[in-house]
Amino acid sequence: MAATTVLESLHPTAPRQADAAAVASLRSVTKHYGNQVALDHLSLDLHRGEIVALLGPNGAGKTTAVRLMLGLITPTSGSVHVLGGDPRDHKVRANIGAMLQVARMPETLRVREYIDLFRSYYPNPLSYSQSLALGHLDEIKDRLFGDLSGGQKQRVLFALAACGDPDLLFLDEPTVGMDIDARRTLWGQIRSLAQRGKTVLLTTHYLEEADALAHRVIVLNHGKIIAEGTSEAIKRQVSGSKIRCITTLEESIVCAIPSVVNVTRDREALLITTTDAESVVRSLFQKDPSLSGLQVTSAGLDDAFLALTKSENPKAN
């Protein structure tokens, strides 16, 4: 991570502190949209100075969780506590920054005008130049919002979320539409926020992003937490290899081999997802010497993630 961040240089001494009390929490929150269940008895806590990634496929309930914590919607049941209060309370909100997914925003204001406007919402905002620096906006500050590229727009939205210097930030898919350099730079900014004691909840469907940033990853699917832990722990659960082979073995027998995560049948072949390809291949040959058509590929992160979020053939590690 080469990019130095402005906030680090401004507050070089701020350490990361872990307070026991939760900065924000959802307690057994259920949210229905008509007959659809978006969140199903979800409980989670955010602690001070922590970056938490909510990871999950589209429709997993990530955005719903964020909108609940922002007080934009109310839960069907369960309770939401943010900064010791209700997120709809004006005083609570003055200490929260949010970067949401916006299809379009009014295009006839300049970047510096948006920054000026959003800074005015907060009682103790960052200075104007600090706010610009947050999103590396100095060279585009005079442009109309409508003239910006997708990645530049995301940078502006990030700066708007953070310019009030809030203690708690919600970032919903912050790096969508960004190239890799811009993404890395933003990651650096998010890290330095946490170093200054800010709490960050971000949603993403990139495992890589969660891995690069988060102290803690919560994997969400169908409105439920299906895995939670450090990104290393999650990766251990989801990363691995794919084995494809033609065998007479039953799926249930293959499933019983240690380190097999998932088994599916593809016509005459078996597709096996595993965290330890070598030992699985060894025991496959022991059990079925006539095994043929063997292929071993390393599962991409996305494949592995799919294996984790797919509810068919779940198997504990």
Binding site: R104, Y121, L160
Partner: protein
């Protein structure tokens, strides 16, 4: 400092903070809207061009004892204000709501009232620009003479009239999809203005138009404008005011129902 004094100071500073938010919100709302050329040009040029064609061109014609140029000055002021409010709130709100921008504002510490006040103020400002342009045109080319009282009253009417038509714009913005809003608002705005006698005096229009006019909010608004310039009877002023008030509550009530219904689903 006593506790009461501290409380007073913090109240004062929070009042100053709120005032600053409102001021910035209004400033940028107006800037944003005026840079949107489709809005600013059409809002101002429609009434100006129409007034030029129908009012200035017929400046020697008389309606009773006032000139048609003065009569139509009042009615085109109303026409302009209605357009500024309908398009400003209807299209602006529908877009910002459907594209997720409203959500960003709602998640921020901005008071919701600041958003509403800014939108309304921006509409009023455009109403004033239209009114001032029409007055200048009428006085310079239409031989219109206005007393200070008439000028002040027309500006007051412009300010007042933004409210019912902003409420109407809000309702339309909630009812129709954002990309259809400009078209649908035109389909409502232009016929409603015509049938309310804002383009040309009602008595020149077919009888059936005169029959439906009282059911349109723009008719009551236009009548109030005409009474200010000395046309129509003073006794009916309060009736028109009440009708407009009724329409405002109707639009706001329906909007409130729609907003609640969509919040229940969202």
């Amino acid at each position: 400092m006593t506790t009461a004094a501290i409380a007073a100071t913090s109240q004062q500073s929070s009042f100053a903070h709120s005032t600053r938010i409102y001021a910035k919100e209004i400033q940028y709302e107006f800037l944003k809207t005026s840079r949107n050329r489709m809005y600013s040009i059409s809002t101002i040029s429609f009434p100006v061009v129409f007034y030029f064609l129908f009012g200035i061109a017929n400046r020697h014609a008389m309606m009773g004892d006032i000139s048609i140029a003065k009569y139509l000055l009042a009615s085109y002021c109303c026409f302009g204000v209605i357009g500024a409010a309908l398009f400003g709130i209807g299209v602006g709100f529908a877009n910002e709501r459907s594209q997720g921008w409203l959500e960003v504002k709602r998640a921020s510490p901005m008071p919701s009232m600041a958003y509403i006040v800014a939108k309304l103020t921006s509409c009023i400002a455009f109403g004033w620009i239209v009114t001032a342009s029409l007055m200048a045109l009428g006085i310079a080319f239409g031989g219109v003479h206005l007393t200070m009282m008439e000028i002040a009253s027309l500006f007051a009417l412009t300010t007042l009239g933004s409210l019912p038509f902003a409420a109407m714009g809000l309702l339309i913005g909630l009812l129709v999809p954002a990309n259809a809003a400009p078209g649908i608002i035109n389909l409502i705005y232009l016929p409603m203005s015509f049938c309310s006698g804002l383009w040309m005096p009602l008595q020149f229009l077919p009888h059936w138009v005169q029959t439906i006019a009282p059911f349109l909010p723009a008719y009551h608004y236009g009548q109030m404008g005409l009474e200010i310039v000395g046309f129509g009877n003073k006794a009916a002023f309060l009736g028109h005011f009440n009708a407009l008030l009724g329409f405002t509550f109707l639009f706001l009530g329906l909007s409130w129902l729609l907003l609640n219904r969509s919040n229940g689903r969202a």
